[in-house]
Point group: C5
Chain length 354, copies 5
């Protein structure tokens, strides 16, 4: 969790709207890809220079300009400036670690999303900030790293599947958001598998490593919740339809994404409830086992204590101890001890103590 | 609980509105039944081909077309298309595991419900998604499996009981929802019996199997709550009366279902409160018993320890130990031990320690 | 608690608005009493036949028709029908176990209340459903059993005390609600006495029977809360004044009942907080006592263990043990033991361990 | 807490608006004081008869009539009647134990406040109901007992300090409310001192008397919260400005009192949080100490057990035990025992067990 | 925490709007600095007398008058009076310990902020009240002490960085608020480091000093939350745009600060969640270690008890004990003891008890 609280103190004292990149510096140029389409054509290519993207702002077709990498702040400011993005929004693009939000800057809509993916090697949920700018006729998207969950969207554009080629830029923006939310289900599924497996393991055998695992899962779920929860408001805000950039038809689709988000949140909450229950199971199981151990040991000790006492009595060195000289004194004593032991065992059994 | 989080990752990358069936595939045709009625006539039959249902969209009578099974996605899309359902709604029909919701598509109202039933053999609550489409003059219903809770509704139509034959399609939709909600009471009753029985069992004898049962019941109740809670919003949404498909008279009936839903939720919450209390009772009872055991055993040990000490003293081999040669030294020692034991017992008794 | 979750499964499959009585069947006729009054006259009598009540619907005076018993569903439907009650409301009248609610059927207002009373013999809170119908010029009230909390209202009518004889039917309805809410204070007072007494008992002596009592009281308070909480909404709903049946003057009085309801809820919540605290006190007290016992016993054991060891040492049979032949070896050994014991006692004392 | 739940059952059956005094009866007359002022004059005196107050209702100056004592219900009804108070309000005046509330009766505003004070001898928070009636040109105030927190207000009137002499009756009402709220800070300060002191005491030494003190403080804070919380709504209600009795200028001052109330509530909540933490500290501290004791004692016992075993072995009476006849057998045995003891101590130390 | 609940009882009885300074008295004059600028010039100086500030109220340029120190109440009242501040606001300026709030006095907007900073020596969060007055063309700021977080703002003004020199006084006010909120991130970062470090330390080694540290951090976070939470409302209140002093352009910037505040609150809540989890980890870890100790010790004791019993048996002094005279009786007995011990160890191992 902690690792994800981004460092913001480096920005102290700078003018608002000053974009500061928080990640590792790099000399590589940004990777800018263009996908321009309408009903009749599709153009897809990697741009060599950012200025190549400029004409597409006013092209009649729908243009999707995707930028991978945020280390070259100057270039990002240049593109953003050309496409009319507010400096404060640019600041949010590069200053990753924002909560999901939507900001309406009249001529464009700025949306921040958290793209999540399950990392199989670390068993953590990785996240990346995706910033969308929806303008009339174009969608600008900024990602921290190359690699995303939008291949399905691209394929649908290329192959003219579904409505996308016949729709406007707002439908493209919707499709991107939808792809991000769809990925949440995949992440949830993986976490769900772990919750399920852990549930079985804990009720079978509760050892401290399970506790660590419970804590890690709880933190992952807390993180998920924090990343997804604000999206609900974002989507319902857009849906209430203040922005003219979304037409009514697309809003129906957005309502669908909204429903999915609610479903994701619902499931996260269910998992959180289950994890809370799991901790109880763990603690109860540990304490049960401990009690079991203590009880059996105490019972053993208790059975021997009276027997040892009898042995002690006949170990005394009094001159006059009649039993000592009896023929079967010794065996009598052993018998008494055995009887005491059996009596106590019987008593404990009857009481159901072990 | 976990078993019910539906797998959604298979859909990743598909266009929105692409219907994907999540259940087991089957070659059987869908079972489509028609119930067409007005004040004067009732027609009820199983349709051989889905096209037979098409004319009923525009018939002046009320037509209820029920589809059992969702595996034949193409057919469902065909019917849904004919009856003017939005592709996103079709997607929700076959993609089971939706939360209850109502979506207004102008010319039709799409409602998703969770039909619950108590499975006596597994002692679980089974659930099934029922999707309703209310249009002018028709109700379309989709179920996952054959077998439902609507026999009462069908009987009222056949036998002309109540208002149903004299009312429009909206009253039919209401009747179907009402039947689903009425079934919740049956499920709750069964769970209530188990809660009650468990309450008695736990206060009598708390063993770990009870704990498992408590956890299972808690999960069932959590599941119930999740299935029913959103219905409240759904019904109050419809009631606020945006849809022209429901006339004012039927809304009064809908308010009644709404009341029932609140009552169900109320009862679920009460059961949840009681279950939480039950866990406390269980834990207190376990710890009480444990304390009892430990206390008695410790007391026994404590009584014998001083006695054993006395025996140990007179077991020492010192050359000069005057008591050893006393005539009644041995009996004196036994007496001392007895006195110590009785004294401690008396002290413990007075303190109320056992 | 459980006992109060009414069985509703018997109704499954019946048409909405079908009134089903849940209580024990009886052949006795319903007891119908009439109280008809205006400024100048009061008529009070038990009606022999229900048709006798019919003319009072349209009489210019205020008529209060009270029905005790709900087993004769046909008669109730007859009266309700004559007074213009909706079938769904009739269903709620006989199907007891409803939450408090108010439903506006234009020409009449239907109100469901829970009448509570403290049963001294079972130490439980008994409850009964009271259904009110307020129409222009009449109030219809239905109770499950003979015996109610309205004697004060009747006396004020008979003796012309207060405003009641000079006011309309809405004031009568208010007076009935007020009487029900006033009774809540009495019930709360009794429960308050028990909470108070229990508080003292638990801090004095925590035994398991107290735990049972705590649980019972918590359940009673949970039940009270469930019965009273919805009334708040009911009253504020009426107050917002949609119904023309309540005139503005009476609404001021209704605001007063609303205040009382808030006060009752407040007190219930306070008691619930106190009960929660009481459970903590109980558990702390039990665990304190247990700790006390264990500590003292362990201390005793610990003191004797080193002494017994010393005795053991001199009980060894080595040929060469110089101390054994010392003149005062025995007393020296006893002295050592005593010194060890005193030393440990002193140490424990200084540490404050007992 | 319980002591403050007022008995209301005595009122059962009485007509609404019947004023019933709950306190101890008394034959003393009520103490009625008058403070009449405008910019130019101040009149302050104790009235001999209540009728003397009547002319001040319509005097052009601001009149503050304060009544100490509520036992003479008839007189209170007389004054209240003359000043046009609604019977339901009069009922609330004498029926102490009301929650803070404001009721708008068109020509007057009726406000109920809880006046709190810290009682140094009982270490409890005492409370008293203050009922205010604000009319055009007059403020009526009713208190349970002589003695209040309004001396500062009176002094400001007498000495013409601040705006009060130049303002209307609404400013006087504000000043009275302000004085009540200011007193909350004093009470909070005293409770805060105790919370602080308790915090130090508990972390130093946790004994059961501290637990009792924690519980008492928690109850006091619960009580405070219950008394103050509704005031927030009351003040924001008045501020929303429906009443023409408060002019806009005074509303700015009222906003200030509102802020103070929020601050008080905030602090109460902080103290409650701290108290909850304190209970945790207490319990942890008790259990830590207990664990410490048990651990040390168990360690001592455990060290001696193997040593005693060795002594037991050489106390056996076998004919052939070679060690017994060794020259240094005894010292060897002692050495073995010492080595075992040291070994265990070292082991425990290394494990960090004591 | 407690230290921060300011003493307010000294004000009891004073007229509202009477400014009372709560800090330590001082004879030093207040330090008043002026920063006057527009696009073309910047004037920055320390004023010798407060009257020097007066002309800047109506200057066409933007004037920022900052006052360090609140001990000279008369001077503050003089400045405030000249700049048209309401007496109630002046009271809040010197009466430090206010919650963040914004009050609209038509011609000026009064804003109270909490300036936080992390004190490395005490490891506490220090706080100071900053009161802002935004008027047309000027910003007045009052601080408790010299030293603040506004150097970045001043530098931007001096060096003409960003928009500030080209904007109005509202942008200056925004910049000051922004600087305060930015500092929250720094404080959070420091606390985050401690939370993180503590998390590692506790899971490695749980000793009571960690508990103390957990409690201190929880209190710091509670304090932070209390200081920051109300700011959310303050900013959204200003944003809803009632005040004409903020122009639309600046409101976009204010929305940005609002977002930051939400982010800070979010992070505080996350830390609080983590701290709560940490306490659980601590308690579990302590109890695990305790259990471990007790278990091992009990096991050791239990193994020796039967062995000691055997030794006791052969220490008995019966005349006829055949084994005693056996040639290898002694070694046989030792063998039996060893076998018993090994058997128990094996049993415990197999059960997984140690």
């Amino acid at each position: 969790m902690v690792r994800r609280v981004r460092r913001s103190s480096e920005k102290i004292g700078l003018a608002p709207g000053t974009a500061v990149y928080l990640g590792e510096p790099s000399d590589e140029p940004l990777r800018i890809t263009l996908l321009d389409y309408d009903e009749d054509h599709v153009t897809e290519r990697v741009l060599d220079a950012l200025v190549e993207s400029f004409p597409f702002r006013d092209s009649p077709s729908v243009s999707w300009i995707n930028v991978d990498g945020l280390h070259d702040v100057a270039s990002i400011e240049a593109i953003a400036g050309h496409f009319g993005l507010h400096p404060l929004a640019v600041e949010d693009v590069v200053h990753t670690g924002q909560r999901p939000k939507a900001e309406d800057y009249e001529e464009s809509l700025f949306i921040v999303l958290r793209m999540l993916s399950y990392n199989d090697s670390t068993e953590n949920v990785d996240d990346e900030q995706v910033s969308l700018v929806l303008g009339p006729g174009f969608v600008l998207s900024f990602q921290e790293r190359t690699g995303d969950v939008f291949d399905g969207v691209r394929a649908r554009i290329r192959n003219d599947k579904g409505r996308i080629r016949h729709a406007k830029a707002d439908y493209l923006a919707y499709s991107v958001i939808d792809a991000v939310v769809d990925q949440y289900f995949v992440v949830l599924e993986r976490l769900g598998d772990r919750v399920e497996a852990l549930g079985e393991e804990v009720s079978e055998r509760a050892d401290p490593s399970k506790l660590e695992e419970i804590r890690r899962l709880k933190r992952e779920l807390l993180f998920l919740r924090k990343s997804i929860w604000p999206l609900r408001e974002v989507l319902s805000g857009i849906q209430r339809g203040e922005s003219p950039l979304f037409d009514e038809h697309t809003l129906i689709y957005l309502r669908d994404v909204y429903d999915h988000t609610i479903q994701v949140i619902d499931t996260v909450e269910t998992y959180r409830d289950m994890m809370a229950g799991l901790l109880d199971v763990y603690l109860t199981s540990v304490s049960n086992r401990m009690n079991e151990v203590m009880k059996v040991l105490t019972v053993i000790a208790t059975i021997f204590i009276p027997m040892t006492f009898v042995a002690g009595v006949y170990g005394m060195n009094f001159a006059h101890m009649p039993e000592l000289s009896w023929r079967y004194g010794y065996f009598g004593a052993l018998g008494v001890m055995g009887a005491v032991a059996l009596g106590m065992v019987a008593y404990f059994k009857r009481k159901g103590w072990f």
